[in-house]
Symmetry: D3
């Protein structure tokens, strides 16, 4: 089976950097997978991709070395199963706030007896090898999102769920549920304390902490202890470039 190099990197104490895909262009996923990213995540929650786009984008990552993962729109076992069958080697699950929700997410990623994932990995079998079934329960990453004050309050419950070896912080939603404004970071003590609590919980339970990040924030998050960091994007940079390049050119032709 294709190795989950993202998990290997994390297991060996390394830091996994990821590209985050919101646009529906498989070629961009190919570009990201060929660069030295540790993972490419296709975002079905806030991105524009529907399931058919995801299958095309997963296929488009085939030639590269990055581990393909996906964010499911919601904690729904039907979609989680389809993403894994299509070849995602990990699923980020939003809004996991309780132990029950964490178990629901984790079990959707595991074949019995560890979970209730249904057998039929058509795309995954082709892409990842004939021994896919035998290894899937250890190679597939289960990544619940910790992104609410409620989840922070239930950390022990969530982080002790079998199979939950990695979590992903959503700083914007975490901020909102703490009564703050959205953003990738926040100087408010409530935010900082929540982050600290999450990191402490992860340390206690041997779980790798990850977070939605940016190139600018990478150093800070790394120093805090996060080891799974999304730092490459498609929509933001293309928007910024369209804006900035117009400005540059307009200045050049307006004299």
């Amino acid at each position: 089976m294709t190795k989950n190099t993202m998990l290997e990197t994390l297991a060996s104490g390394g830091t996994a950097l990821g590209a985050w895909m919101m646009l529906r262009e498989p070629l961009v996923a190919t570009v990201a997978a060929q660069l030295d990213y540790d993972y490419v995540c296709i975002d079905m929650q806030h991105g524009l991709q529907d399931f058919g786009d995801v299958t095309a984008m997963l296929a488009a990552t085939s030639g590269g070395g990055a581990t393909p993962i996906a964010r499911t729109p919601w904690n729904e076992p039907g979609m989680i199963g389809r993403l894994l069958d299509a070849g995602a080697l990990g699923v980020i699950v939003p809004m996991v706030n309780t132990r029950e929700e964490a178990e629901r997410a984790a079990k959707a990623c595991r074949y019995a007896p560890e979970g209730f994932r249904s057998m039929g990995p058509v795309g995954a079998g082709v892409r990842h090898g004939s021994d896919y079934f035998a290894k899937a329960n250890t190679e597939v990453a289960i990544i619940p999102m910790i992104e609410t004050a409620q989840a922070v309050g239930n950390l022990d419950d969530i982080l002790s769920v079998p199979g939950v070896d990695t979590i992903y912080v959503g700083p914007a939603d975490l901020s909102l549920t703490l009564g703050l404004g959205p953003g990738l970071d926040n100087a408010d003590a409530k935010f900082t304390e929540a982050i600290d609590a999450i990191l402490a919980g992860c340390a206690k339970h041997g779980v790798t902490p990850g977070i939605h990040c940016s190139p600018e924030l990478a150093a800070k998050r790394f120093e805090q202890g996060f080891r799974l960091l999304s730092v490459g994007y498609d929509f933001g940079p293309v928007t910024a470039a369209l804006r900035n390049d117009l400005k540059t050119a307009r200045a050049a032709v307006t004299k």
Copy 2:
């Protein structure tokens, strides 16, 4: 009918700056159309879009002020007609090397008696107004590409074709046909002379010269006399950002 503000700008001596779309994501076209670009060009020749993508991207430009145009894959009247019917207010036609080819391109964009465009502007009628037919022959831009040594040799023939009020230089192909390497610019005298000849021909025939450009080259091209300049892109910036942001982040987490 929707005004072709790109042509208005050019007619009043202004400079039209454009965004050039190669990826299949309509939302990026929306972003470009909302910025202050004079035109958004959907590139069916070297871009990834098929006709269905073009219709979606043309629709996605509706709310913005930029004039939507398209590059046809080849000088084929069937596709030129479909692009116009879908709502493009101009068509860039590659590899126009002779008077006959220029006439073929121009007539495909004009209803009889000026040309042989067939009547049936379903999407254009909805998007641009019930007087579309009455005004289309003056509002639709015909933009042949001058991009070969052969075309430079036939400049008078091409630039005197009725309806050809604007042309678009493809510097990479022009370079190749001059025996040089590809690129947006070239210091070789053969390239410079070809550019000068094109600009002189345009001046002589009252045709607006345009060129495939970049933010960095905009000042130079403007000073040379070009007035239609593509300066905003999608694929290049997203690729550069994915590469650079990874580099930044990798450095930040590797200490």
Copy 3:
């Protein structure tokens, strides 16, 4: 942020008339949005559109004045969030029968602390402006469907849920759950009483009543007190025209 003119009209005591889209053709959505409809609703429940079609249709409404909304296939927060992120300014949620279900629907449409909508309005931010987040909790319409006998029995519970300022009656399903046949209207007292109860409940709770309607029924529903009325359709009229025009023509050529 783009104003939700549909809600403005309702707030000022006006009546909002809507176009209801069941076919997968964005150009028809453009046509509807350009007419004087107050809203265009893309129906993912009984219509043929999948999420990718919805994004294309929402984009296609950009140039027009109608407020774009969508009906979610079911009361699922994942899909509700995606519809809003794509730019719908309101969501009609089918089969809301209890207070718990109404809260689930309402909270899926609201950022914390009012609800649990997750942050990431990629398409909505582009289409509706950079202040989208700041205003979304007041500009996005939450429209539960009242369409079962059970819901009529739970009216106070449902209509008192915060954020539920508008409801939408599904007359066909309401009829079925009352033991009657399907249809937009029904003369049976059970149906009339249910309608009266809904209108009374709305009046009591200050909620605007809406209903699936037709041009023919508009006067009656308006007089009853409904203020949100879907009256324009795509599938029915095209089917009727294909049938009637054939009949007319067949008669004309058969003599």
Copy 4:
């Protein structure tokens, strides 16, 4: 092989009435095919469909009795072959103005030795039967469009081309090339004389005359002698209904 009932009707002196599809919704094609239309034509020239849409729409006509045909965007053998391979039992070819163009269109529809259509009817073989190859050269309808003054001048040349048993008049383009305005009909003598000339040419060469028509014009065209009449549409009626139903409803709620 599936019988080409449209051609059978014409061969027996009957009149074939058609539905004309411009929108990308296969279900509408199903509706048309189930009604008593003699043919359903999918319009790739002025309609919105790309080739993938055409294959879906041809598949969607399978259960009905109407003969599925298509209009190719242009007189290009590659696309004509693909439309026939996909299962169209006839192709309307726009802008056929000379004998050479008529031969090019006709031969693209016929296997050698009558033409140069290439062998490989994957979809057509499935839909129309294992004897498809044996019968295709007689069952597939070749329908050039006569829609320019030039074509009217070359009628004998065009109508005597082997395989051209039916033609289709494009009244709007014909009007334009005669120096008149667009429309399905025109009272100007130049238009009437052109129509008469076409009908006379068809009578002389034993060719069935067809024309782009409407329910209102069907009687007139039938009396003139046309026997292939497109009378059912999708885009026009849905647009009219959206406009009219809004008007009706607005009046009903504005008192």
Copy 5:
């Protein structure tokens, strides 16, 4: 309304053989529907199809005699309703383990008062006839999957749910939940006993037993008493042929 010939066959004691579609190619569905299969099942759970593909594939079965059904990705009423609205005449529902889950599945397939399916069968009405509503509650097949040890323990609860007249065994998942390896069959006594229990439960409750099968296993399953057997596939055979034909050819050219 189109007859559900699959259910008729089962009701008369016959055996229904099915084709199982995992690839996104409607033409393959057409091929299957034209052969003598009793049903064609489009698999949205482990197949690659998204909802748009399912509508295309359902349309593609129109000309054939096989009953079109679909497997929903999960026991979700929203998707079940959409599949039925699109024209599926039955839905296979995975992972039905309790009476509550069986009722949820069954009621999603039935209009009130038997269930809570919402009214609006746009595609189904076109494909299956104007009396669709009147007959749908008897003609639509509800087919829960029995595929876990838990379900086997709850057989009486599940099989006594009104509307559950047919079930479908998933042997691979059943094996996994019994602690065995995946596969269509298993010699282990635990598997055999579970199969026997299911068959006994079906006999007791008058429910038709079905199972995911293969041509090779058909005789055994038939003798055991199964009467709904999927035996035709797309993905497996094409993969086997690509492998075997290469082997044959390689040997032929390597001498």
Copy 6:
């Protein structure tokens, strides 16, 4: 740049075996590319794929070792350029009957000065490397089809065109133009003589002969001297399996 291993194999005197894709399922292309095929050809002429499908299928071959090529629907430089830009490392061009047509096909595959291919290999650059432009003129395979009696009569003209190092025989169309029935092979002397003439012409001009083949015919073709043989298919095998497996199963359950 990615090596064109198909051309390398041929250059070293080896035989290249290919998989031929007619269905629109990228996963099948992945399967073929992972097996030991020398090339995977996506057939846009008689297959069902449109350009968007081709880009998805080319992307889907990325992980495997087979060289991806495509058949263009017709000898049109616009489409040939797009296929190469998308990443095809060779193009099979149907119906090349004259030297002029061969030059048109060959030059569409070569950048100036050898041809007139336009610069802009977006997908090809990503997939095949940053030195793509430098090597494309030698690594891209130009494969005209010899498939008519006319082409056999013009062999010296066609085979001496620069860049034409490989040709591909279409036996079915060749048979038709010789007045015979269609098929992969034909015992008639006219067919045999044409094949012999093609092989002799190839030997004389140092061109590699290829042919549309089957596993059964591979030995014969190899012995005749053909070195490029398509032997793996998707549509035929899946159709055969659906038919045969039903027969097997029906027999098993009918006793």
